[in-house]
């Protein structure tokens, strides 16, 4: 059996002909296996969806009750057979509920890893490398300049800044599913026990994390908070909100952004932030390389990101490698605010919010 007979890239996403299912399909399909809840991987409107219970819950939260015709929860490490194809979900360490999907038939094993990281994250199960023949990897940070330091160091940097500027509010831009909760959990680990404020677009998902038993401490909505009350506090918001009218309700805010992109200065400057925090939910260059080696795969498929450098690296290691050039992944980040159309701040138009703020100030 050739690998392409078990999983092949199509315009709709990765397709498994013998099992008749797609992994993270980009358009509506009859049967979908979903790695994790980010909107570029977990789209609504499929006939049947199989994912971890956490991912299903997150999809329900973000896309509504009727996000799929039928659902089936997959437990980590349990193998389910779909039309003769053995399917196993294993933790990917990316966000709560995230999984790699391992498909196997006739002794050929392919692992579609979705998005993953091998760095520590108190909000989700750790990444487990799975021995396989073909490893399908992302390459968001597939350049050797992306070597992320420990997130703990970055959290310390944030807390140091909070201590140094007690009269200013600290606004931390972070993707609302995963990154925001990880930052909060790590602030708690570092001993920061003051209330942490949330942008409206983050409340629901963050409370869901808390309800799942992840210690996030006292959380408060920014909505309704007095300007003076926000001095010396930390607020989590979608990255785009840093530049919106919404940010004007804070006293002299220090703008921070928690993202792997902050590793490179020109990228950090483009966002105009004052405090870049290199905290990534994707594997960095070293993590990608080490994970590839750890799977023992002899063939590597690269889905999205900086494919060229990673493919080149694989080739220098004697591994067969090819970019899949799938279009449509990696867009969660740019769609961030729009991904939560039900949240109060994000839903209003620019104009309405401007009037609100002027009204509030008057």
């Amino acid at each position: 059996m050739r690998p392409e007979d078990l999983l092949c890239p199509t315009p709709k996403g990765l397709y498994c002909p013998p099992g008749d299912f797609y992994i993270d399909p980009l358009r509506s399909v009859a049967r979908a296996l979903i790695t994790h809840g980010h909107s570029d991987h977990a789209r609504p409107g499929h006939g049947a969806v199989m994912a971890t219970q956490d991912t299903l819950d997150i999809m329900r939260l973000r896309c509504g009750e009727n996000f799929a015709g039928r659902t089936q929860a997959a437990a980590y490490s349990d193998t389910v057979t779909i039309d003769g194809v053995a399917v196993t979900f294993k933790p990917a360490g990316h966000v709560l509920g995230s999984a790699q999907i391992c498909v196997e038939k006739n002794g050929l094993r392919i692992v579609a890893s979705g998005d993953y990281k091998d760095a520590r994250d108190p909000t989700c199960a750790p990444f487990e490398p799975i021995p396989c023949d073909v490893f399908i990897t992302e390459a968001t940070f597939g350049l050797p300049v992306f070597r992320h330091a420990h997130a703990e160091v970055e959290i310390a940097k944030l807390l140091q800044s909070v201590a140094l500027f007690p009269d200013r509010a600290h606004l931390v831009g972070a993707y609302s599913l995963g990154k925001a909760q990880r930052v909060i959990a790590m602030l708690r680990e570092a001993g920061h026990d003051a209330p942490i404020y949330l942008h409206g677009a983050m409340e629901k998902i963050t409370h869901h994390y808390a309800a799942r038993g992840i210690p996030l401490g006292e959380l408060r909505p920014v909505r309704g908070a007095k300007k003076a009350e926000l001095a010396g506090t930390v607020t989590l918001c979608p990255p785009s909100a840093l530049q919106e009218l919404w940010a004007r309700r804070f006293p002299d805010p220090v703008t921070a952004f928690a993202s792997g992109w902050m590793r490179v200065r020109t990228r950090a400057r483009q966002h105009g932030v004052e405090l870049p925090l290199v905290i990534s939910d994707h594997a960095d260059w070293d993590g990608l390389c080490a994970s590839i080696v750890a799977t023992g795969a002899s063939e590597i498929w690269v889905t999205h990101g900086e494919e060229d450098a990673l493919v080149h690296w694989c080739e220098t290691r004697g591994l067969r490698a090819r970019p899949l050039r799938l279009v449509g992944y990696g867009e969660e980040e740019t769609e961030e605010t729009a991904a939560d159309p039900d949240a109060d701040d994000a839903s209003a138009s620019d104009e309405r919010r401007l009037d609100d703020i002027e009204g509030a100030d008057a």
Binding site: D121, P122, V273, D286, A290, V293, H312, R317
Partner: protein, 608 residues
């Protein structure tokens, strides 16, 4: 070094003067000697390293990384120091124990690996810089690993004595021991390009704040101080005497004027004031003194105290008597003062050659005398200093240095006339290089900063055009949620009829209230977006007209319109004016031609 690197890193991103000051003062407070003193030296540009050229750094990284990966990475970030800092392979001695695993998370590192057929995989030996298994699975060092990383003083002292041939190996050892930010800072430091938006003055202000002192107090004693400034920090922390200024040619903090407009003159008595021309050059302080060994020392300072002697050896050579002159640096050809545009051509050149000095002869037009011989004159009233200045310059008898003439007047009406037509007063052909008049109280002492009621500047009227807002960009810092940077254009004939061509960009001149109004207009009239920039509707019957004021105009090949404005600012919002009635490029072209012919005529005609 890692702590200093962390400071540089924060400063590089921090907007706002006060925040930068607080970061630096906090660093000075919490960092021991001599480390903080060398940091102050680095921030004030007092350190320089001779041998560290980019070629050495390229060679080092080439030995350690895959050339294809390096090329891709360099192409992505575009900065050599940063690419090298990030790609540099981690070395075993720089490692730190992994963070404690808690909360169910995973520390880095993998369990035993087997391929699906059960055969252990051959693992090729690690090669640096390509993300290899064992070395790189370990965590990157953190800013806490100060014990192994070199200190700033170790770097400075080693580089001062190191031979060129030994540099690459030493550099490699340091890069091995530092974290990514430390490597970036080291490479920026030794190649001389910190570029973190901190002036020497700001760094001194931050150090002064450590002892609750003003920057001027530090500035006064600064020339006598040497890195690592142990006596300075001892004084600031109340542990030692104030260091004595031993420098024979120190900078003295500059006195500045407040702006005034015609209606405000009525409140002043003309008899209390003298007037002089405000020359359109660069305000400088030229100081000469005698060292203990008898040698002459002459220095030129900008008005912020940055030393610029190297750029003007022709002026330095002319000041052969002990004294401190406050004056204007100008270019004078054949006895005629040239416009600021001409001066700028000399400033733009990096190396000062004989040819450059002959083509653009520098001249010092003196306004004030702060010290003569070793006597400090600053406490004396202006008229006494003026008399001393006249005596000093006459005795010097040097064609490159002359006195700025007083503008005779008895009533404000006479001064108004002189300002409107300097050529007819006593400026003659030099009138084109005058940008207004200065009013100085006859009894004013020379005080640092901008004291009220003593000196006034009354600038000539700016040029004005009506231009149409085309693009708006979000500001930074406090203004990061506001569209506060505006690109505006004027009409010109295009292939398909009249079109707007951008002629400038401005981000000040409006009030906070007006900023809110423009911001709202931008958000409601956006026709396209490019990242942080919005294109705003600009049709003949739809859009916003700005009255733009500017000080000068130059030809420019970098702008599509072919002109570049000097100090453009938004002087009025013309909500009442349809964009179709805004100015045309031809109007700017006319102003430009008149500037080139002579400024006085330009102003008169522009007003008509």
């Amino acid at each position: 070094m890692n702590r200093f690197a962390a400071l540089l890193d924060r400063l590089a991103y921090q907007h706002g003067r006060n925040a930068k000051l607080r970061l630096m003062t906090d660093y000075f407070r919490t960092t021991p000697d001599p480390e903080r003193g060398l940091a102050l030296a680095a921030l004030t540009g007092a350190l320089s390293f001779r041998h560290a050229k980019p070629g050495i750094i390229r060679a080092l990284i080439a030995e350690r990384t895959d050339p294809t990966l390096f090329a891709m990475s360099y192409d992505y970030g575009g900065d050599l120091a940063e690419t090298v800092a990030l790609m540099w392979p981690a070395s075993p001695q720089a490692q730190r124990a992994p963070a404690p695993a808690c909360g169910g998370g995973l520390g880095r590192g993998h369990s035993t690996i087997e391929a699906s057929d059960g055969v252990p995989l051959p693992v090729p030996p690690p090669q640096a810089g390509e993300g290899t298994l064992d070395a790189l699975r370990q965590p990157q060092p953190t800013p806490n690993s100060e014990d192994e990383a070199p200190t700033l003083s170790a770097v400075v002292h080693t580089l001062a004595t190191l031979g060129k041939a030994e540099l690459p190996a030493q550099l490699a050892r340091w890069l091995d021991a530092l974290d990514a930010t430390g490597r970036w800072a080291l490479l920026k430091l030794i190649t001389g390009g910190l570029r973190i938006g901190v002036s020497a003055r700001l760094a001194k202000t931050a150090a002064a704040a450590l002892g609750g002192k003003e920057a001027d107090e530090v500035e006064l004693i600064w020339p006598g101080l040497e890195p690592p400034y142990l006596d300075l920090f001892a004084w600031l922390e109340g542990r030692g005497e104030k260091p004595v200024a031993r420098d024979p040619a120190p900078f003295r903090p500059v006195m500045l004027a407040h702006a005034i407009e015609e209606p405000e003159l009525a409140a002043l008595d003309p008899a209390d004031f003298i007037a002089e021309w405000k020359w359109d050059g660069i305000r400088i302080q030229a100081v000469s003194g005698t060292r203990e060994d008898g040698a002459r020392m002459t220095r030129l300072y900008s008005r912020t105290g940055e030393e610029i002697s190297g750029s003007f050896p022709d002026i330095c050579g002319a000041l052969r008597v002990d004294g401190a002159i406050d004056g204007e640096l100008l270019i004078v050809r054949n006895g005629r003062v040239q416009s600021f545009n001409v001066l700028q051509q000399r400033l733009n050149r990096k190396s000062v050659t004989d040819k450059l000095m002959a083509e653009f002869p520098a001249h010092l037009r003196a306004y004030d005398l702060l010290a003569a011989d070793s006597e400090d004159l600053r406490e004396k009233p202006f008229m006494q200093r003026r008399a001393a200045l006249e005596q000093f310059v006459t005795a010097l008898d040097e064609p490159r240095i002359d006195i700025s003439p007083l503008v005779p007047f008895e009533t404000w009406t006479e001064l108004i006339a002189a300002r409107a037509d300097p050529a007819a007063a006593n400026a003659g052909l030099d009138a084109d290089a005058i940008e207004g008049v200065m009013l100085k109280r006859r009894d004013a002492p020379y005080l640092p900063g901008r004291p009220t009621g003593l000196w006034w500047k009354w600038k000539r009227d700016p040029f004005i055009v009506d231009a149409v807002l085309m693009y708006a960009q979000r500001g930074s810092g406090k203004r990061s949620s506001y569209y506060s940077d505006y690109t505006f254009g004027v009409w010109t004939g295009g292939e398909s009829g009249d079109e707007l061509v951008p002629v400038g960009k401005a981000y000040f001149g409006f009030t906070d209230e007006e900023l809110l109004q423009i911001d709202r207009f931008v958000r409601r009239n956006t026709v396209d977006r490019f990242g942080p920039v919005r294109e705003v509707v600009h049709e003949p019957d739809q859009g916003l007209v700005f009255e733009v004021a500017f000080e000068g105009l130059q030809r420019s090949t970098r702008h599509r319109s072919g002109v570049a404005m000097r100090f453009p600012r938004i002087s009025r919002l013309r909500w009442d004016k349809p964009p179709g009635e805004a100015d045309r490029l031809e109007a700017l072209e006319k102003i430009l031609q008149r500037i080139e012919r002579g400024r006085g005529a330009a102003l008169v005609e522009a007003k008509v």
